[in-house]
């Protein structure tokens, strides 16, 4: 590793270790763990709800807090998978497969411990990989001009929208709705009002925080109402023995954790492919590689360790495109990217040049938050899981109240409450009709920049669209965007061929 990188990392540690930042890191990690545990409130919703509260903080503290919440949520997501068989978020689905059977067999302590240990190891290795990869990628991204950025955003949106063959059209529709929302307000380049319908409040545009809180927060709760009274009261194990693993458990887990971490990290770097895919892929991989595949699904400890390591590695990997290229790879990183913009920071390669204390402070905080989360999630697991006993019928009204207050702090105006409610209904509609919401959020965050890059590029070329194909970078990105759209169909075709060959 370059000496320069080490110096910057030391600078980062000096920022992250300031007592105020360190204190917020602890608070964020604990809060994130709790939010991650609660089914229905994933990291995206959690960060979106907390985002307005960070407006009073300096940028580095706000970002460190949000990263800690994100990280804590990744650790916490598996708690409810293990104890209730209900994943805290999508990425913790694979933890249900063996985590819950382990708890049923009286091995909840080992399950809670290995999920935290695997998350810690996966996170730590990925942090090192992040440090190694971030600077070269950021340096490469300095070659990007407006046309390259426009095509890069097309690629990011296409990759997120085309996550599966079934949802490809719906993903693209979701993306278009997000882009539509970004065009509301006064056009900064021409001064013309667009889609304001005479409303003064809409002249400054729709704040992306309102969209995120509405679609993720309120929309999710309205959807959860559909089954609220059918769930009954959750009975959670509250008394535990020593939360740790045996030597035999460790021997079974160390290799699966190490070999699934790079897979999770790589999936995280790809736009669109999130923690759920990383966890599921690593679980299936591990099952294929295991000497005891028959034990998977019945409480195999490596079946819990592998997806947990991959899931956390993925969450770190997802931050690479966000910090180095300025494009979010997932809904959660989209929220964080938006936060960077709110603080007046330019996400992308220039962040490392212009604000090294922030970029490296956040990177260093990931190392520290990893340790803090491990401490919170192993010795304090028994205490924290009590949160799972809070019934959703009490929790949801509180979250709604918090959402409204958070929105008020954006402009100190209640004018956006109605907009929040309408966006909540939009989120509910999208969830009911199985339209993915992540492309919408990504589009809302990058939409304004995307249009700006598009128009700047056209100005540069006197209106000729050929500028979007002028460089090798543009062409490679177009190719990647096309592959992203075609990949679900290609993989489906390959699978069918494989099945036919197997049957023959």
């Amino acid at each position: 590793m370059e000496a320069n990188v080490m110096q910057n990392l030391m600078l980062g540690f000096s920022v992250a270790m300031k007592w105020q930042n360190f204190g917020m890191m602890i608070v964020g990690s604990a809060l994130g763990t709790v939010l991650g545990m609660l089914p229905g409130l994933g990291p995206s919703t959690g960060i979106a709800l907390l985002l307005p509260l960070t407006f009073v903080m300096p940028p580095e503290m706000a970002l460190i807090t949000m990263c800690a919440v994100y990280y804590g949520a990744m650790f916490g997501g598996s708690r409810s998978s293990i104890l209730l068989n209900i994943p805290g978020d999508g990425a913790a689905v694979a933890s249900c497969f063996d985590g819950y059977p382990m708890a049923q067999q009286g091995r909840a302590e080992a399950a809670l411990a290995i999920s935290a240990i695997a998350s810690f190891i996966g996170g730590l290795i990925s942090c090192v990989a992040f440090v190694a990869v971030a600077v070269p990628v950021a340096r490469f991204a300095l070659r990007f001009g407006p046309p390259e950025y426009f095509v890069l955003m097309i690629f990011a949106l296409a990759a997120t929208a085309a996550i599966s063959k079934e949802a490809i059209l719906k993903g693209l529709i979701s993306m278009c709705i997000g882009l539509m929302l970004t065009t509301v307000g006064i056009d900064l380049q021409s001064g013309v009002q667009r889609f304001t319908f005479g409303s003064v409040e809409l002249q400054s545009g729709i704040d992306f925080v309102v969209v995120i809180i509405g679609v993720y927060g309120l929309g999710e709760i309205l959807k959860e109402y559909q089954t609220l009274r059918m769930k009954g009261e959750a009975s959670v194990q509250k008394k535990f023995g020593r939360i740790w693993i045996s030597w035999n458990d460790w021997k079974r887990c160390w290799l699966p954790m190490l070999r699934q971490t790079p897979i999770g990290f790589f999936i995280g770097v790809l736009p669109g492919a999130g923690g759920t895919i990383a966890a599921m892929m690593s679980y299936n991989n591990e099952k294929q590689l295991s000497r005891h595949p028959e034990e998977f699904g019945k409480g195999a400890i490596e079946g819990l360790a592998a997806p947990e390591a991959a899931n956390n590695a993925c969450s770190i990997g997802a931050m690479i495109p966000m910090f180095t290229l300025g494009i979010p790879g997932s809904g959660t990183t989209a929220v964080m990217l938006g936060a960077l913009m709110i603080y007046g920071l330019q996400p992308g390669p220039l962040l490392f040049q212009n604000n090294p204390e922030i970029a490296w402070g956040v990177i260093a905080s990931l190392f520290l938050a990893n340790v803090i989360c491990a401490i919170i999630n192993i010795p304090l697991a028994g205490l924290l899981v009590r949160v799972l006993a809070v019934p959703p019928r009490v929790l949801y009204p509180l979250v709604i109240g918090m959402a409204f207050l958070g929105v008020y702090t954006i402009n100190y105006s209640a004018a956006e409450f109605l907009l929040l409610t309408l966006l909540g209904l939009l989120g509910y509609f999208m969830k009911c009709y199985k339209i993915p919401t992540a492309p919408l959020i990504l589009a809302v965050v990058v939409g304004a920049n995307m249009e700006q890059s598009f128009r700047q590029a056209l100005l540069m070329s006197d209106g000729s669209g050929a500028i979007f194909f002028r460089s090798a970078i543009c062409n490679v990105l177009w190719f990647l965007a096309a592959i992203s759209i075609a990949w679900p169909f290609i993989s489906d075709w390959l699978q069918k061929r494989k099945n036919v060959a197997r049957a023959a």
Partner: protein
């Protein structure tokens, strides 16, 4: 109606309305007069095409006998919860500034908890409402140094007068 048919129709309709609204945008006075319309028009056309594609794919699936996956069991009372929450949220938006944070939030949270946590748990609902309202008020005012709106008699008069 099949789920994807609704999505397709929604997409076509939304794209059409958005496109029509795009054409109403004023010309730019500097540079290309069409420049504020180009990007939204592209989105509109793409959205309509996606909607049409969704409808075509869905028709094909339907004629091939493909059945949609079940949407899962729903609580029959959920509509009451959803409509009630939306109405309360709208009312909170109108009442927040004239009534002030404390009064409006006390009413909003109590009504919302009564709706979601059921009226029979009224004692718990009152306690949670009070703790939530005052704890957040203290946090915002004393920790974050953010002033929340207080009761405004003039605004309430204007509000009632406007309503009448």
């Amino acid at each position: 109606m099949r789920r994807d048919t609704v999505v397709g129709l929604f997409s076509v309709l939304l794209g059409g309305l958005y496109g029509a609204a795009t054409l109403q945008i004023r010309d730019a006075t500097i540079g290309n007069p069409w420049s504020p319309r180009v990007f939204p028009l592209g989105i509109s056309v793409f959205l309509i095409l996606l909607g049409v594609a969704a409808l075509v794919v869905d028709r094909k699936k339907a004629s091939a006998g493909h059945r949609e996956s079940a949407s899962g069991a729903k609580d029959p009372g959920c509509i009451k919860l959803i409509v009630g929450t939306v109405v309360l949220c709208g009312a909170y938006g109108f009442a927040f500034e004239p009534l002030g944070y404390i009064l409006s939030t006390l009413c909003f949270m109590f009504c919302l908890l009564t709706l979601v946590n059921e009226p029979k748990r009224w004692v718990a609902n009152i306690v949670i409402t009070l703790i939530f309202t005052f704890a957040l008020w203290g946090t915002f005012v004393y920790v974050f140094d953010i002033m929340l709106p207080s009761f405004n008699l003039e605004e309430v008069r204007g509000w009632i007068g406007g309503g009448i």
